[in-house]
Amino acid sequence: MNLMAFILMDFWRNFRNFGNTFFIVVLPTALYLFFGVYNDWSEFDVGNGNASAWIMIGMAVYGAITATTALAGSAAVEIQTGWGRQLSLTAMPHGAFVLAKSVIALMMAVLPVVVLNVIAYFTVAQMPAGVWVATIGLTVIAALPFALYGLAVGLLFRSDAAVGAASGVLVIFGFLGNAFMPLEGVLLDIGRFTPMYGSAALARYPLTEGTIVGTTGFVGTDPLWAVLLNVVVWSLVFAAACFALQRRRTSR
């Protein structure tokens, strides 16, 4: 059995799927190039770095989250449809399938993070080296809970179209979660409670140390515990949904 070959082939299949790659890599990269590089505000100071870095992290979080959502979702659809039965007729144990899909999802999630950080590094983004390393790691980690979100959608609807829609909805979560443009006022008050807010704030924490950036300056502070609470609560919500759906599935 050659699990590595399977992982590479399945990664390549997902990578060349334009519907996936557009939202995971192309869209966040394009948005960053439009709004994060060579704009009037690009070199404004933000925390330990500049605005360009702040915008880049938000885009990378969005891309990585789209990757974990889409891949976990499609894995759930695959295993429940005929392909899962086909794979059950091989020597591959179920655990190896989960492992393979986790590795593929992680590879896809790392992709936009690498692309955006490289572009940011060679353009105008500024961060101290240690902050840069920390934020890259946190971006990938912050995307992981969304694998549960994708999984729940895949278990609930068992269709690729639904998983695609769930990935599309992430644009709204990204907007409300402060990943794209700095929110203020009512939108910020609402956005704080949405799932991507915690992930974006966590990934930016090394840069901002919790300060909330508005278009007019600093509009407040998120303590670390509040950021973590958002991430933990939403992870639990998604996990509970998966658990309930899995039970419904096996009780049939």
């Binding site: 399977f6 399945d10 005929g82 039965r85 086909q86 049939r252």
Partner: protein, 324 residues
């Protein structure tokens, strides 16, 4: 002492043993639906068996359990002395599943390569594709393949582990007659090589032409099992058609008749009668020697008729059980 040890060894002539297997599903109404009901079967090496039955007879459920995709509620299944899952992991079993899906965004060749990577040992990819007739469409995406081409691809996947046992669930569904013919030619070559084949079908001529043994399933139970030719005999070997206008008394005296049907063609003309019989020789001799019946024709019953008759008997005896 020696005979005792040999008695404990598994009987290796039987490749598959299904012992008193039952599987129930929760029905939508809230009750339980028994998809497979106390089924016991044995299949020896090199045997080609057709599993025949109408939709909902429990064929797919039984095959899924033999493949380890599903576990019986009670009873036991072993393949070459090990559990189905172990046998599958060892590559002893290949299967073409009815609902076995393919990924539409892979090419034909990629699909074979990807599944090959997950087997411990496998036949060379190009060889399997050649056998299944896929070489010409190797680079076509699965989404663009016809139903028949997809079945051939699934067949290639079934061949990959070079299995001793191949299980086919409605393998020719979606194939045109030519493709179906080609498919069975390939299977025949495989069976000649000693591969054990078990296939579910509702194309009766496939069982008649390809399987030496036929197992009939109805409502989760085995209602007949034996050489395909014998199954036909068991159900009433033949139909005899004569031109004759018998009285009720004449009919009562006929030997070996299971049922009859009168075809009145026109007023004044002698009607034609079709008899279903389990002993065509005796009935024909009686009709020609002792009655004025003429214009006799004898035709062996098709498996379809055999099947209908056997399921009727089954339903009938079930009714009797209830009324008793």
């Amino acid at each position: 002492m020696r005979s005792q040890t040999s008695a404990q060894e598994p009987d290796l002539s039987q490749l598959i043993t299904v012992a008193a297997v039952t599987k129930e599903y929760r029905a939508s109404g809230g009750g339980k639906f028994r998809a497979v009901d106390q089924v016991s079967l044995e299949f020896s090496r090199g045997e080609v068996t057709a599993l025949l039955g109408p939709n909902g007879a429990g064929k797919t459920t039984l095959l899924d359990m033999i493949l380890g995709l599903n576990t019986p509620d009670s009873g036991r299944i072993s393949i070459a002395g090990s559990t189905p899952r172990t046998a599958v992991q060892q590559g002893r079993v290949g299967a073409l599943l009815q609902t076995g899906g393919l990924l539409p965004d892979l090419s034909v060749k990629e699909t074979v390569q990807m599944v090959a990577a997950l087997h411990r040992r496998h036949a060379p990819v190009h060889e399997v594709m050649e056998t299944a007739g896929l070489t010409e469409i190797a680079n076509r995406s699965v989404a663009k393949c016809s139903g028949g081409q997809q079945q051939r691809l699934k067949f290639a996947l079934a061949l990959l582990p070079q299995p001793e046992l191949i299980i086919l669930d409605e393998p020719t569904a979606g194939m045109d007659p030519t493709a179906r013919h080609e498919f069975w030619d390939r299977m025949a070559a495989l069976a000649t090589g000693g591969t054990t084949v078990l296939f579910a079908t509702h194309y009766l001529e496939e069982a008649e032409q390809f399987a030496r043994r036929t197992v009939l399933m109805h409502q989760g139970r085995i209602i007949a099992d034996g050489p395909t030719a014998q199954i036909q005999r068991q159900a009433g070997a033949a139909q005899i058609k004569v031109t004759w206008a018998p009285s009720a008394e004449d009919l009562a005296q006929l030997p070996a008749v299971r049922s009859w049907e009168v075809h009145q063609s026109g007023t004044g003309e002698t009607p034609q009668i079709t008899f279903r019989t389990d002993d065509a020789d005796t009935l024909a001799r009686h009709l020609l020697a002792r009655t004025p019946a003429h214009g006799i024709s004898v035709r062996p019953a098709s498996l379809e008729e055999a099947f209908m008759l056997l399921t009727e008997k089954q339903d009938h005896s079930a009714e009797q059980e209830i009324s008793a």
